[in-house]
């Protein structure tokens, strides 16, 4: 569970610019033939972000026992999500 005041301090994981909300993503995916609702879209996103966060947590010396918890915490952190967005944009350019 997110500690009290965490979101007020670190912000909410919202998207800006051309980023899409989970409902819009689910609509896009459904239109492309991969039917899903907004919750599934979020679950898939978080699952992908956990994959990205796991090696970073290892880099910072998180023990194997805490790895899963810390990776989830990192994955849902808006600062991490913003950084991933920047890196993806860099990769594309």
């Amino acid at each position: 569970m997110m500690p009290k005041g965490h979101k007020a301090k670190h912000g909410y994981a919202t998207v800006t610019g051309s980023g899409l909300g989970f409902r819009e993503i689910s609509e896009q995916m459904t239109a492309a033939g991969d039917e899903m609702n907004h919750a599934t879209a979020r679950n898939v996103l978080i699952r992908g972000l956990i994959k990205l966060a796991t090696p970073l947590c290892k880099l910072h010396g998180v023990s194997d026992t805490d790895l899963e918890t810390e990776a989830i915490k990192t994955a849902v952190d808006p600062r991490f999500q913003a950084a991933v967005g920047d890196i993806l944009a860099l990769k594309r350019s």
Binding site: V15, G19, I25, G33, D34, L52
Partner: protein, 256 residues
């Protein structure tokens, strides 16, 4: 000095004025007599030159010093009040010095300071010299600030401006542009810490490697979420996985 020779010859032709002459000319000037004003100026040019000579080795051209001292002299002539009973040379000396000092301080530093700050600096320097002569030691900054009637902060700030400037190229071996200079030894406060830059590159590298482990479905949703693709419906560039395509095709076939 060659270009000034005719000027010096001309200066020598005018006699010095007595106190009575000064008063007579000053009275005539009050009635608008321009010739009296010219005579007053010309007769005191030697005073202006002698004051200008005292500032010869302060980084200014002698011609400029003469010009400034003459401007100071003209100001003194226009402001002289004979009723006060002082000799004109006593009165004019301050105007000439003020004018020449302003030129010297303007040209001797890369930082242009206001005239009031220059005047403060000269007064402070004079006070420090007198204090040192009297007590054998220079005053502390706190004492000097009290004598000058300003706060320690103001005093320190003003005096710091006059400590002089040093070139960042100082210390370089002449003829060797690669040799270290003073500028090379000053840390760039705005520069990024190299260890932070290395960490950042490492993190970016790890995330890029991790991106390869994403399924195309996850990558597509991440891209849609962050608006990385120009066309969110671009399923050619961002396809779902082979197995998912097969699964979808089967589902479609069942539906139909």
């Amino acid at each position: 000095m060659g270009s000034l020779e005719p000027f010096f010859k001309n200066v020598g032709r005018h006699n010095l004025l007595t106190r009575d002459d000064e008063q007579r000319l000053a009275k005539a000037m009050e009635t608008g007599d321009k010739r009296a004003r010219d005579r007053m100026i010309q007769s005191n040019l030697r005073l202006a030159i002698s004051i200008a000579k005292r500032y010869m080795n302060k980084g200014c051209e002698f011609e400029d010093l003469i010009q400034e001292s003459n401007i100071g002299l003209i100001k003194a002539v226009d402001r002289f009040d004979w009723r006060r009973g002082v000799k004109f040379s006593t009165y004019a000396t301050w105007w000439i010095k003020q004018s020449v000092r302003r030129l010297v301080t303007d040209q001797s530093s890369n930082i242009k300071m206001p005239a009031s700050a220059n005047a403060f600096y000269y007064r402070a320097k004079m006070m420090i010299r007198e204090y040192t002569e009297e007590f054998g030691v220079p005053p502390t900054d706190q004492e000097a600030a009290e004598f000058m009637g300003v706060t320690l902060n103001t005093y320190s700030s003003l005096m710091n401006y006059y400590r002089g400037t040093v070139s960042l190229d100082a210390g370089r071996v002449p003829g060797d542009p690669e040799s270290p200079s003073l500028g090379d030894s000053i840390a760039d406060q705005g520069a990024e810490d190299p260890s932070v830059a290395i960490d950042r590159e490492k993190i970016i590298g790890i995330i890029r490697e991790a991106l390869a482990t994403l399924t195309p479905r996850e990558e597509k949703i991440i891209r849609l979420r962050f608006g990385i693709t120009e066309d969110p419906a671009d399923h050619v560039n961002y396809p779902i996985t082979e197995s998912e395509i097969t699964e979808l095709e089967c589902r479609k076939a069942e539906e139909s």
